[in-house]
Amino acid sequence: MILAVLAIGLLAGVLGAILGLGGGVVVVPALEFVLPYFGHPVTITQAVAVSQIGVLAVGLAGTAGYLRQGLIRARTGYLLSPYTILGGVVGSWLGLRLPAKVVATVFAVLLLYSAYNLLRGLKRVEVEREPSRLVPPAMTFSGIMSGLLGIGGGTVQVPVMNLLGGIPIRQAIATSTFIMGLTAVANALVYSASGQLDYVIAAAVALGVLVGARSGTVLAARISAQNLKLFFSLLLIFTALQLLYKYWVTTGAI
């Protein structure tokens, strides 16, 4: 089982490095669908709890790389992180209390939105602009999503920092990766206090993510990102439909 979990982490790390989208969108559904085959079923809350450590690993590996390139805006990151931490705590609190069906549905919507963004390509701004006053509430919202769903928040955070914050796209991605580490620490604290965090599974996912993220940067040069985007988008749509089927159609799953 641990090898399967390690492989899930590896996949999340590699896809994260190549497409900028890995972490929670891979780890949460994969754990939910794969672990029952090993006689270790997990609830979506437990999968989200483990994913917080996977997100931390993405943040650690990504920050190490982006620091070398001088792309991280430390001050902006630290000043915005209280908003994402606050949102993350609210999201984690909701994640522990909302019915699994609700969390799974929000997750499925996020997967469909991510697939749409992958296929369409994110709107982006390359020129520095003055930040909008909507950035703090938008960052809090991204924190809520990260706490509730176990995602890094990059899906929401990067567009917010780029389009509303006026930060050029590469710095927005790097700073978002940096912030997600701090947010995930807060989220993981809440989930671990609730007893939902399985440390052994979390360690395997995190190790897979760290190694996968490192290898992903090498693989990125050899793999056609376009084909991978199409394949991964279809996989996200399939996963979203399967999640909806499991929680809305299958009886006794809730």
Binding site: T63, R75, V89, E130, P131, I167
Partner: protein, 97 residues
Amino acid sequence: MTDKPKNIPFTPGTSETAGLPSWLFPAGFWVAVVALALALLVPRLALWAVGWVMLVPVLAALWVALAALKTDRRLSVAALVALAGLAVVFFVKGLLA
């Protein structure tokens, strides 16, 4: 810097990509790889390995808060604010869970 609006706290400054110790995250990465690999062999170490992964961003914020105290007060305060947020979560986590 002076022409930036003062009422928006996250207004980027010119030197703000500096400040984070360049060695801390790569070192944290490799220690984490070793600790997590050990945790797979000895599962009772998993808590400590995961704890280390959680500690790296906290250590970085602490380092920045102290190191930038005299050279870049805004960066130092920003890191302290982030740490304060985490400290609050740490102390009230039992109530939230």
